[in-house]
């Protein structure tokens, strides 16, 4: 009886269809920049038996920026994104997230798709920024492609495959955004908390519409809907006071910071992000 064929340790598909076929192999895992999976041994996690390395799929490297929207392939790196985004108020949160995450060497490797799909990574910078920018995610499955809001994607990303995040689309508009983070050192390590905001203001500088997101505080990034509701109609300058109420947020304890500290600094990060937005409108 012939021995069962062993799965290869790495396959390099050239198309999304080939990648989905490879992801159907037992234990296969999609790998983009590999900066997260290479650290699996340090997290005492088993290495997937087969890596489906996506680097050779040309479509996933797209970076299209127009006045109406931004379309980003899953393999766009933080560094490329930081350099490609224009200095536009609506995209500022994403530009700050891409330029400030981790350190320069990691930013040259780590990708958008990897940042969004690393379910164990609580302190991803791009995820809260994209939540605050009302981004949508395109998922490819053997049945076709589906677009879903970032918020829905983050709750479904642990679902069994095969599926592949192919691109992210960000709408452009008259809102202004900012991203504030607090790492334990000035730069280079994971932030203890992240706040991303996008706000549409009235001529009187009151908040007409706010999208707020937090990262690194809970196990996964998420929208801060309670703050968004409280902020409607309020002056931008009052936002930090409104953020004192952190009810409903279940902060995680970890080596870098206890949960109470993450909650304590949230109003400060909200203030910093709001001040950055206010500077843009001054």
């Amino acid at each position: 009886m012939p021995a069962a064929a062993q799965s290869p340790p790495m396959v390099l598909p050239r198309s999304v269809a080939d990648a989905l076929a490879a992801l159907a192999l037992p234990g296969a895992q999609a790998v983009a920049g590999a900066s997260w999976v290479m650290r699996a041994p340090l997290r005492h996690e088993p290495q997937a038996p087969t890596w489906v390395a996506l680097a050779g799929i040309e479509d996933l490297h797209r970076c299209d920026i127009t006045g109406d929207r931004v379309r980003l392939g899953a393999l766009v790196t933080h560094d490329r994104l930081a350099h490609a985004l224009p200095a536009a108020p609506d995209l500022r949160a994403l530009a700050q997230a891409a330029a400030g995450a981790a350190n320069p060497g990691v930013r040259r490797i780590a990708t958008l798709g990897g940042n969004l799909c690393a379910t164990g990574f609580a302190a991803a910078d791009l995820a809260p920024a994209l939540l605050a920018l009302d981004a949508t995610v395109e998922i490819a499955t053997p049945q076709g492609r589906e677009s879903l809001p970032m918020e829905d994607f983050l709750t479904r990303r642990g679902a069994p495959g095969p599926w592949l995040l192919t691109e992210v689309t960000i709408p452009r508009g008259p809102w202004r955004s900012a991203h504030a983070r607090l790492p334990m050192r000035k730069a280079g390590d994971y932030p203890a908390a992240i706040v991303s905001l996008s706000a549409t203001l009235t001529p009187e500088r009151r908040i007409e519409r706010l999208l707020a997101a937090i990262g690194a505080v809970e196990q996964a990034p998420r929208r801060w809907h309670a703050l968004e509701t409280r902020a409607k109609g309020e002056p931008l300058a009052a936002l930090a006071d409104l953020a004192q109420d952190t009810a409903g947020i279940t902060a995680r304890d970890a080596l870098d910071a206890p949960g109470w500290y993450r909650l304590r600094i949230l109003p400060t990060l909200v203030r910093r992000a709001a001040e950055a937005i206010a500077e843009d409108t001054a």
Binding site: M10, L12, A34, M38, R39, W51, A53, N103, G105, I109
Partner: protein, 159 residues
């Protein structure tokens, strides 16, 4: 699965597990021990090498993603027995203390000076965000790099 790549100008072939970190190929197989495997999570910068001219942590690069890549380690920055300008400046400014970080520092700063011949102090520090010095000798490192600036550097506005 075999991977062909170039290391310090020499063609190399790797036939091991493609998930092997580049740092292990360099140190264990090629005996290029200038890059150090310390944190293995991209934080410390001691394993920094140039991949197609870009400084990246070799601990986070699986060899299987490097087919056709040009790798330059600290050993390849200058001809054998010679020093490149950053290495020379480190020596002249007595920068090296324990020595653990300096190969990564040299690689990162060599790449910085390649794209920006007259960096500001802030730009040097920003470039070094991913390179940690346990001896905390950062200021001397920055001084050494700034000593390499041209006598008449371009102004900020001219960049």
């Amino acid at each position: 699965m075999t991977i062909d790549l170039t290391v310090n100008g020499q063609p190399r072939r790797f036939a091991g597990d493609p998930r092997t970190p580049l740092i292990d190929l360099l140190r264990e197989d090629l005996r290029l021990t200038g890059a150090k495997a310390v944190c293995r999570e991209g934080f410390c910068g001691t394993c920094t090498v140039l991949v197609d001219g870009q400084p990246v942590p070799a601990c986070l690069r699986p060899v299987g993603l490097l087919a056709g890549a040009e790798i330059t380690t600290v050993e390849g920055l200058a001809p054998q027995g010679d020093l490149n300008p950053v290495q020379r400046a480190f020596l002249d400014h007595d920068v090296v203390q324990c020595g653990m970080c300096f190969s990564g520092m040299v690689v990162t700063l060599t790449a910085l000076l390649h794209r920006n011949t007259a960096p500001t102090r802030a730009e040097v520090k920003a470039a070094l965000t991913g390179n940690m010095c346990r001896c905390t000798g950062y200021e001397r490192i920055v001084d050494a790099v700034l000593s390499l600036a041209p006598a008449d550097p371009p102004t900020e506005a001219a960049r």
